[in-house]
Amino acid sequence: MADRSLLQRREGRAAYLFIAPWIIGFLVFTAGPMVASLWLSFTDYSLVEPAHSVGTANYQQLLADPRVAKSLANTFVYAALFVPLGTVVALALAMLLQRIGRASGFFRTVFYLPVMTPAVAAGAMFLLLLNGQRGLVNQVLGWFGVTGPNWTTDPAWLKPSLALVSLWTVGGSIIIYLAALNNVPRQLHEAALLDGAGPVRRFVSVTLPMISGALFFTIITHTIAAMQMFDQAYTMFYGPQQKSTASDESLVYMVYLFQNAFEFFKMGFASAMAWLLFVIILVITVIQVRVGNRFVYYEGGSTR
């Protein structure tokens, strides 16, 4: 007995040595900064002068500053456009790929290729592709008699164009869905077929439940990522050349937060913005998990 506890103690020590990097990193780069950030959010820190406590002024400012509400609304609209659209398109393409069998390898490569394009590069090239007068996208729309909008300048179309660029890089989900679809046991489809289920019924009653885990996972991660979208919006619509009179329609939350922190050096206010974002993401995720648990089917109970 004494031996075992000695061994256990030695094992315990070794275990902590192995996970030590994460513990140190967690304390220095996550837990510590979280506390600091919370504290900063009650100050007016600007990097040059020491921080002064300002009470809840920053949080009141969150409510008072119309650009906070605007950027939040923009981010929601972008997420509401991209997440459902991305999920449907990716699932549709994955189902097409599953049907064609052997050749799907080639198409997987094709669909994944855009994912490798750095966001800045994608942003730069789509600025031209989406050009209202001479861009390729509107030219193609023109073939079908559709007059394309001024994607990159018309305030009403800035968010759809951001969503469109994101849609181009949806390849990762396609691969995930394809893998999930391939894991659906054949017998289930056969059984449903014998019971006289049509394609729609089989999709709803067999396919969807069986891939609900993967769907759920991608929807949550995409939503979290969409709420923090930065690279593309900043590349396409922001930078030192940005005029103060420019439209706020493309101002997503992270861009405004970044500007406050590192361009206007309002680090206290930016910290308060960060905490608001955290709370919002937390609430959305909790809701999604609640709803998800009702629909998601985990094979053999839970994987967790």
Binding site: E11, G12, A14, A15, L17, F18, P21, V28, G32, P33, M34, A36, L47, L96, R99, I100, G101, S104, T109, V110, F111, L113, P114, M116, P118, A119, V120, A121, A124, L128, N131, Q139, G172, I175, I176, A179, A180, N183, R186, H189, E190, L193, A214, F216, F217, T218, Q228, D231, Y234, G239, Q241, F262, A270, S271, A274, L277, F278, I281, T285, T303
Partner: protein, 310 residues
């Protein structure tokens, strides 16, 4: 310990799916549906081809645009009317592109090496050992995945500011020395797939704990390590936010940061040389295409694993 362990793929590793088998449902349909099946097949292929063009053509367009003279960038021809190879010479005048490429290479390599090793170490700690706080700590690892980077962004910047490493490339990769939640989660799944008897046998042979990690766990999970490495290369290469925050000196820029600088520069001067900007865009993208060409299988496997974990 001399036991040569043959790399047995762990359970969690996605078996290379024979694609033919995946082609399931169509044959299931009753004979009466055969005719409509032919039509469906044509429609399926048509859709796939259309979407493939939509996904790949922008990249083809990019290559073409980067070779056109200024006046023809927007003509949207596939093959440039006149090839202006000098764009790729001009681009060096727009910024120290070669330097930026090297910086990006160094940063993403450091980031990927650091995160792969540290995450593996931590993941092994969570997979092999049984210790009191394991459940709690691992829960904490998972919880950090939900934390938006914005919450820690400013204080972390202040830390690097305090130690005088702002405007160096260190902050772009050094956090990776401490593991990353998602990779820890992924690698732990792989390590859990290794039969425990392997470790116990090695222990009896007198292998140290670190030996278990280095001689058994790492070699057996090489595919998973490659997946982590390659995903991080891509993530690190593409990042814009950190270089924007930390780098001021042009010489230290990464390629995406440099590309942004070039585009901004044209916008500021009011004279757009999109052909040069597109050449720079292509230069920023090509290394990732090369990485994909070599690591394609690993990207696919990594995502397939993610699907199962979901």
């Amino acid at each position: 310990m001399t036991t040569e362990v043959r790399p047995v793929p762990p359970d969690t590793e996605p078996a290379p799916q024979p694609q033919a088998q995946a082609a399931a449902p169509p044959e299931l349909s009753p004979a009466g549906r055969r005719r409509s099946l032919g039509v469906a097949k044509v429609v399926r292929w048509l859709l796939l081809v259309v979407f493939s063009i939509a996904f790949v053509y922008p990249l083809v367009w990019l290559v073409s645009a980067s070779l056109k003279p200024k006046s023809q960038v927007f003509d949207n021809r596939v093959v440039p009317e006149t090839f202006q190879w000098s764009n790729f010479v001009e681009v060096w005048n727009a910024g120290p592109v070669l330097r930026w490429l090297m910086n990006s290479g160094v940063v993403s390599l450091m980031a990927a090496l650091a995160v792969t090793f540290s995450s593996a170490l931590v993941a092994f700690g969570f997979a092999y050992f049984r210790f009191r706080l394991r459940g709690l700590l691992f829960g904490l690892v998972l919880a950090t995945m939900m934390l938006p980077g914005a919450v820690t962004m400013i204080p972390v910047y202040l830390i690097w500011h305090q130690v005088g490493l702002v405007d160096t490339q260190v902050p772009l990769w050094a956090n990776n020395l401490f593991g990353s939640a998602f990779y820890i989660f992924l690698l732990r799944q792989f390590f859990l797939g290794i039969p425990r008897e392997l470790f116990e046998a090695a222990r009896i042979d007198g292998c140290s704990y670190f030996g278990l990690f280095r001689r058994i766990a790492l070699p057996l999970c090489r595919p998973a390590l490659i997946i982590v490495f390659i995903f991080e290369i891509q993530a690190s290469w593409s990042d814009l936010l950190k270089p924007l925050i930390y780098l001021q000196t042009e010489e230290y820029f990464t390629m995406p940061r440099g590309l942004k600088q070039i585009v901004d520069g044209f916008a500021l001067s009011g004279e757009y040389h999109w052909e040069i900007a597109m050449a720079a865009t292509l230069i920023a993208t090509l290394p990732m295409i090369v990485v994909f060409a070599f690591g394609q299988r690993h990207f696919m496997e990594g995502l397939a694993t993610t699907a199962k974990q979901g």
